[in-house]
Symmetry: C4
Subunit: 492 residues, 4 copies
């Protein structure tokens, strides 16, 4: 019956019949409402209307093809409707935040003058939309876990060695048996398109160019298939799995991933409840106030809720259907049964669970507190790694034979290449970073990703030379000196 | 002889004959001067005059009936006098502080956008009168105990466990055998009417709605009877007793309380001398300067006091007649003798006294330093709890059988739900909060109290899930990791 | 030959013949130049001229009588010269700093509204002349010792005891056998006249009124005799001795002191070299710039000094002739021989010297680092006391029998009465304060001194009650809990 | 063929033929391009042009004579060209930064009013060119090593002793057997001419005047010969060797140094890779923006570099040809073979290497992390010294016999003379300072250097007296008390 008029679409604006327009095509999403990972409410807000502007930055272009049966693709909008929608855009005008972003985008520093991860983040913080920055930068509650994650590095100093030949210095290593130019990988980070139209593909291409491995998030704004297509044929990609609570749905996803050519599965276990990320939750209100002015509390109407509130934020929507009842006994064997890919458990936060993971026979653990975005007052990964090294030094000795033994990586947000070196000295195979790559691709696209890795490579190599190490194997715990006291601040 | 003229009342303006006008009625308070818990001076300031404005926010509506014999209720003011008083109000106009409060009250954020206890406090701090905020927020001396109380949480991190089923997560518990939806109760906090005309009743209703228990202060601005009337028939209330130095007066109060239906007595032992709360003491001067300009020191008149000074503040007035000579040997048996309610000693501040309390056979102890409002450099409750856990782990094992053994609660002001979880992990049955409820009811009345509990419930449940706990019993000391070092501040 | 003309006096303007005018009288100080404790240079600056303005605030009125033989008192200035000098005063006008002080003096808060030592210091800092504040407040180098002195208290918390009868609470004690209303005494502090024309006499009178003991400094701006005259007949005063390097001169001073009725000698041993007090040293330059504008460096004249510089400051001048070669073996026996007063060594800074002092048979030690004004990075007195308690608990057990054993006091600048209580708990007999008394008398004269002691008495009594102590003997080390960790700063 | 026209010179503007004009003379540097310690690129930027302005502040006046064979000295520029160049200078005008410096230079405080090292640095920071300050003050990465270096002092307090004769106090010592008036020497610091036209000669003359020893940097802006010429005949100078990777070139340099009369070789081992000194690297961009406005990133041209970038900074240029493969086994014996001067290894950063140095038979070690300019999170020298004292107290006992044993000095930037005393107490023979001398000579030339040493001497002597030490030998570890806790910040 296509092409459709706007009036026709507008009639389907309820739970019982819900149509939306995406890029001038009409879709019936009524049956999909309950399956939507982000929940039905978010869709219903746009029932009977054009949803392109909010849909695009957080969905893969092939999401409709993958998730909606062809029969629900109702066909194109009529020409006059398309024109009408297009006309609306300019008259609606840009929001204050969009105008700000446009202006800042024209004042980005030359890429060559970005000298450090901190520089890169500073640029990104200026050019990101409020929504994107709120999602990327938010952490749980008072953001204490997050700030502690960063500051945990400051406890570890180097006992640098001199008089060792380092003119040749090779920072390359291997992760789960796959080569990496430096002991760094891209950790899964969702919704890259919020920051840059090409999204995760920027990271895929930059990572390949610089020879490091990308772990792709279940919640990426490009589908696993599209990211694989952006990759080089020889490129190694890992997959970060958020397990669906329905085992059948989950199994389908795992089999798809394996078939697409992903080389390992990182099972996420630290995000079974949405962290309380206030920045992200507040973002819609802030934007609303910018456009429409402030709304104040009316004491008389205190009983009924005023304004719409989503107190679980973006993260809450993304994980709404995930499995909250995973166990060592049930989940790992299930995953082994349906896939022959190596399994890494992502989100280990104490020594005891590291040991249990080893006993469960997984191929690796990823020490992480989800970048401080989940549990407030979670231990910093560096501290967990250090405790593991102190309490169970034995686990680090098994790491020689790939695949034969459980192996340890760590996910943390280094401020400097020295932070990576510290983690490797203490026994991590490699360090995964998420947010810095989101920032880099948001600001400079693929070139930013490339630059970020170059910065890390230079800082890591300089650090290795200055501690007297010419290969990764030279990075030993003996090079680390822990300082437990805090000097006074003095006048200067 | 009523109705009275203003002139007639004005003649009774001395210690020997002291009349005051409250809500257009005349009272002879001469004999009551010495019994007044707030001291005679406060009343004498208004002898022969209308005292309604200062009387109302800090007294229960039934206070005159309860404390003054009918013969001293002298009857109504004559109509012309009433008019004259009412006319005065508008001409006097509002004070600068009242105008500020009115303005701020119209700019309160939507309740649904209050995301945390910190948000709630921020709103309250803006809309409270100077006097109310000074009384609520003041702490002893340099407020070091108070700030340490809050920061003591920052020492405790979680060793979170993963791969445990937590889709079902129940934060409910029981306190002295009475059910509570979360391990939180309202700790006694005085003078709620300073912040909101309905005062403590807001808290009573909100607590019932959300299923937690309120402990009512001896110094509430509503009488124990009125608060009980505001409660649901099935609702559990505890009573915070400030023991009068006269045993007979004290016994009468205890018997009244028991008869009214209160379910436990929390005997306050940490407030036998007024804390030096400078904000509260200075509040009248600040308001005076706002209205009348500054007064400066005149060297020549140095010998005689300049201006009226109350250096014990509101707290000093409230506890002026309390018993300063309580002992384990005398006071607990006395209380046992006159009441069969469970007894909890409120204000335990070291391991030694926790043990003595147990030996004295009380039903519980409440670890507290009175919110940092009494002794400066008192140990933070979290620290006391931790020391108790370290030095006497045995006391925590007796807590299974309700009523059979002494049981431990803790009073502290959590910044986050995680703080509550930490205290429960270390062995507290529940956590009592005072000030946050005063703030919530001041800003949003009953709805604010409800909201506060919802915030805590959400934060506690999220935290429980993320540490791998599905019931309160899963919260064990093993989940806590103490960090004794302080990381450096870095550039970012 | 008096009365003298200004011209006649002006001729004696050199080292070989140096006359000065003080309060319209002429003095020949040629022979005294080398004996002047402040050095010859300071006098020569005014040779042949009127020196009253700089002389008065730092010298005792009887200084000329005591130090200059009658033959050098040359007699009065002629009337016309007196007029000329007086006329000059108004034409010269006041300096910018004097004008500022006058203005601030009129805006001092009511004394009753001074609630704490911090309040008192804040008032004093505003009304003091730049020179006085620089001298009073300056400390060595970067003022790290000074700030650590204050912060050292923050390590000690109370393990408060409850259920102990404290309605009667007596903070009185005895120092060297002399009664004191609270465990506090006035420690020697120099040049009180810089802050108030009546100088040390303010302190003497206030201390008597409140029942505490004053230790008088060798460098007071009133002579020991004049201070004794300001005292009540029954009043106990101690004397702080700066020993002159010439034993004969020193002996004369000791004998004078004993004869005047001082009851103990505090031999100062921590000020044998002038501390580098930059504020004090810079003060003349700052004032000079305020009056005359800035002077800049001229590269061409680099070789010769530009401007006059005194890099030892006021302290350097005061101790220029002191004994730098005192020893336990020589100095204590010498002092015993010439005086039967009890001897206390002031300035003990480590455990080892505390022990040596005891072995030398002195009657007491005063733990002090001179308020942080001498050695930078000296240990805080609280820390020294704590180390002594830890390493040599035995020394505290001898202190029962007055005079029979060495007894320990401590000099430190408490921020709060709780700090005094902490020191007494750890074993100090009493706490000496210097600067707070200088501030109090500068601002409010004797009434300020009285007020300061009242504040301390109230804070000490409140603290004693709240830790469960009714007498000084109840203050035991068991009440103290040391905290060695530093909590994080959080968002609030 | 001289005199040359500008046009003739301009033709030689490439790698294959590269001429430059320095002070109106023409040089053919084609063959020298690859040998240039700063790399070829820096020269090629000025190929065919006048390079005087950038050449002068960082090269020794005799650099062309020493490094370029006479045949490459092509002769003078023709008069008209000289005029043309000179005319250009005024028309070009001064940069904004030069104008700022000129203005600040006229507002420097009187030298006598510089009271501390901090004062001196504050003056220098104002008058230095942006380039000079960036080079002098820059440190690695986030400058954590640098700030920790300074703060490491704050952990060490004095257990001061009293009652010891100190009227005579002698701070003199000997370093490698050569007398020094205080336990301080000038550590090698490069490019003094950036701050003052007379450069390192200012330091040489000031050091001699005050009786301390200068260690001259390989990278000084005056040649070792010219510095030796500026020295007094009796003056002792040490040499800081950056070993060239070519042994023959390196040997020639060592032999030259020995022949010139230098008395010891300090072999630098902690600078084999350029530290990431962001201030220094960014300096050209900042200046460029000041003159030419901002340059922004153009997304379309992302692939090709925009703007010229030197990410190794000045330090990278200076050490480009240094030996990165030195070993204990090869390098020390090689140096012993070609020189009979005492050898000190500069840049020891852990206990293990201190021991290896001793076993390698060197004459001394210099504990240093290069002022925090190389490895980020290098241990502070004070901490290394302290660890050495704790773990290997034996090494300090061998130090009596000069030359017979390895001896320990330390390079650190004291904030105060007390810091020097602390290092000596812990076992350092002397303390080397670099940056403070650069600052002092930049601001006040030789007089500034002299002043700096006087300040240190006064602070050291005062400190020695106040801890009870009359000679350097009295400075023992027993005087030091380590504090591992950090006090709270309080209200004041």
């Amino acid at each position: 019956m296509a092409p459709w008029s706007l009036a026709q679409v507008a009639q389907h604006n309820s739970k019982t019949s819900c149509w939306v327009i995406i890029k001038n095509n009409v879709y019936d999403v009524t049956d999909f409402l309950l399956e939507h990972p982000g929940g039905a409410d978010v869709i219903l807000k746009y029932a009977g209307r054009d949803a392109t502007a909010v849909y695009e930055p957080i969905h893969s272009p092939d999401a409709l093809d993958n998730n909606l049966s062809p029969s629900k693709h109702l066909g194109a909008l009529e020409a006059v409707a398309v024109n009408s929608l297009e006309e609306k855009q300019p008259t609606t005008g840009q929001t204050a935040d969009e105008l700000r972003v446009d202006k800042e985008r024209k004042r980005m520093p030359l890429l060559d003058r970005v000298l450090s991860l901190a520089d890169m983040e500073m640029v990104a913080r200026r050019i990101l939309s409020h929504k994107a920055l709120a999602y990327y930068s938010s952490a749980a509650d008072d953001e204490i876990s997050e700030s502690r994650n960063a500051r945990a590095f400051t406890r570890f100093f180097f006992k640098a060695r001199v008089m060792r030949p380092v003119s040749k210095c090779d920072p390359s290593t291997a992760i789960l048996g796959f080569k990496s130019s430096i002991p760094v990988f891209v950790s899964g980070a969702a919704l890259a398109k919020l920051g840059h139209p090409e999204g995760e593909a920027n990271i895929t291409r930059g990572a390949f160019k610089e020879g490091i491995i990308q772990m792709v998030s279940s919640n990426a704004s490009l589908s696993p298939k599209m990211i694989m297509e952006a990759a080089d044929q020889s490129q190694v990609l890992f997959f970060q799995l958020y397990k669906h609570r329905d085992d059948v749905t989950a199994e389908k996803r795992v089999r798809d991933i394996e078939q697409l050519g992903y080389k390992a599965i990182f099972l996420t276990v630290d995000a079974i409840a949405p962290g309380n990320r206030e920045r992200d939750i507040q973002s819609p209100w802030v934007l609303d106030e910018q456009e429409n002015g402030s709304m104040y509390y009316q004491p008389n109407s205190a009983d009924k809720p005023q304004g719409k509130v989503n107190i679980f934020g973006t993260a809450g929507a993304l994980i709404a259907n995930d499995d909250r009842d995973m166990t060592w006994e049930r989940t790992i064997p299930w995953l082994r049964r349906i896939s022959c890919l190596p399994i890494v458990v992502k989100g280990i936060q104490c020594v005891e669970d590291a040991i249990l993971a080893g006993e469960a026979g997984v191929d690796g653990i990823l020490i992480s507190n989800h970048g401080g975005r989940q549990l407030e007052y979670a231990l910093p990964p560096m501290e967990i790694l250090y405790l593991l090294r102190q309490q169970r030094p034995d686990v680090f000795n098994k790491l020689e034979g790939w695949y034969d033994e459980c192996h340890i990586v760590i996910c943390l947000i280094p401020l400097l290449g020295t932070d990576v070196v510290k983690a490797v000295c203490l026994g991590a195979k490699a360090v995964g970073l998420g947010r810095p790559f989101l920032y880099a691709q948001s600001a400079y696209g693929e070139a930013g990703v490339s630059k970020l890795i170059e910065i890390l490579a230079r800082e890591i190599t300089t650090c290795m030379r200055l501690v007297g190490a010419s290969t990764i194997n030279d990075l030993r715990p003996e090079l680390i000196h822990r300082i437990d006291w805090q000097p006074m601040c003095t006048k200067l």
